[in-house]
């Protein structure tokens, strides 16, 4: 298994402006919970050839579960929080890593089973083209090799 060092994310890239939300009938300025904000990302290859993009948070550890999203793509989420902790792109996942991640996040935002929408949007920002650290995150030798 080959591993890339953690890429610490620039929190300013992830700082979203307060958004108005109706809670209990009252409009109020809200921001995502600090537990939903990714702090770092690393990528590595499993021995079976699948690529893992792992996301770290400030929150304490929690039990994880892996969900099969089809197309040899899996997502590892927190059993309690439903936060996304890793994308696992199998050897048959086919598409470029970035596209696979975006597709997974799109599915998670659509499905009710995945309830932590703020978290998925913030992770989406990490992998958005506007994020200056994207190249650092995905530059790891094998994640994108032969898949671009």
């Amino acid at each position: 298994m080959s591993t890339q060092n953690l890429v610490i994310l620039n929190q300013k890239d992830l700082d979203v402006p307060a958004a108005d939300l109706k809670v209990g009938g009252i409009n109020v300025a809200t921001k995502p919970s600090p537990y939903d904000v990714p702090e770092a990302v690393r990528t590595y290859d499993e021995t079976d050839g699948s690529h893992v993009i792992e996301i770290k948070y400030m929150g304490p550890d929690e039990p994880l579960e892996t969900v099969d999203l089809g197309g040899d793509v899996f997502v590892r989420t927190g059993r309690n929080s439903n936060r996304v902790y890793a994308f696992i792109l199998g050897v048959k996942s086919g598409s470029p890593a970035l596209n696979a991640v975006k597709r997974v996040l799109g599915l998670m935002l659509e499905r009710d089973k995945f309830s932590r929408k703020d978290n998925y949007r913030l992770v989406g920002r990490v992998f958005s083209n506007a994020n200056a650290r994207l190249d650092d995150i995905l530059a790891f030798t094998n994640v994108n090799k032969g898949k671009k």
């Binding site: 009252i26 809200t30 600090p34 537990y35 304490p60």
Partner: protein, 278 residues
């Protein structure tokens, strides 16, 4: 509020209890050995101890029972002291949160506070009472889900027992703490001014419309001589990925909590880690 005081004698007693747990375990093993074969066991002890060994062999089950019970009690006591120690650390963190959040604001410490609320399914005596004949409020029960203040910064207003409803039907939450709990997000609420006994009915109505409480609730608090804060900032607190409660900053300054220069991420992390041990 939890009494987050800790003393050196608790540390000392806690250590003695830890030592006793080990000793009780070792003694149980020795007694079991003696009981199994008292004659063989006697070979390993001096002659003058033989009567003691004989007595131990006869009363072995009683001794094992005594050691087990006292060992279990010692463990409970030690765990309780350890939890008390963790709560002192949490009190320190909450004090620091308040100091960091309100560095240069006018007023006393209790005008700008940080409070940790814990979610509890059950609350037998919610205060203030919602209806004189039914303290939980219309259609609510002791197990409706409540946010109870556990630790508050500073030295004053420590006896406050203002509990907020945090029911499963999240549209009916009470207070800013309840709204933070229901939304699971960081919330900021600013009112025009703090509510004190000089507040007009209009002020009270405006205040209640922004803070998830009824005008009657606000009036009740004012009649009790309380001053209600003007600004709030709250974040949900999680323990191992599960919602545990709410950390709420409140200030009598209308911008105090909103402009709080606070590193919420670090504090939320430390609180989550400490609360794992309570």
């Amino acid at each position: 509020m939890i009494n987050a005081k800790y003393s050196t004698w608790k540390t000392l007693v806690g250590r003695w209890m830890g030592a006793y747990i080990w000793l009780a375990g070792a003694l149980i093993a020795v007694v079991a050995l003696i009981q199994k074969d008292p004659v063989a066991a006697a070979q390993y002890f001096p002659q003058w101890l033989v009567p003691v060994l004989s007595w131990t062999g006869i009363n072995s089950w009683l001794i094992v029972l005594f050691l087990t019970v006292t060992g279990a009690l010692a463990k409970l006591g030690r765990d309780s002291f350890n939890a008390a120690f963790i709560w002192t650390l949490i009190q320190d963190v909450i004090d620091r949160v308040a100091r960091e959040a309100f560095p240069n604001l006018d007023g006393l410490d209790h005008h700008h506070r940080a409070t940790l609320f814990r979610y509890q399914q059950w609350c037998v005596c919610p205060t203030p009472v919602r209806l004189w004949w039914w303290p939980y409020g219309r259609g609510r029960w002791p197990n409706s889900g409540w946010l109870v203040p556990i630790v508050r910064s500073g030295h004053a207003t420590q006896k406050s027992r203002t509990v907020f409803l945090a029911p499963d039907d999240a549209d009916h939450v009470e207070g800013v703490a309840g709204a933070v709990w229901a939304s699971g997000k960081l919330l900021e609420v600013a009112c025009a001014k703090a509510i004190d006994p000089s507040a007009s009915v209009g002020d009270i109505n405006t205040y209640s419309a922004k803070t998830w409480v009824t005008s009657e609730w606000v009036q009740q608090q004012v009649d009790a001589g309380k001053v209600l804060s003007a600004s709030f900032k709250g974040i949900p607190i999680e323990v191992r990925g599960q919602k545990w409660g709410v950390l709420l900053l409140d200030s009598r300054n209308p911008k105090g909590a909103i402009d709080a220069p606070l590193n919420v991420t670090n504090h939320a992390y430390i609180l989550g880690k400490l609360l794992e041990r309570t």
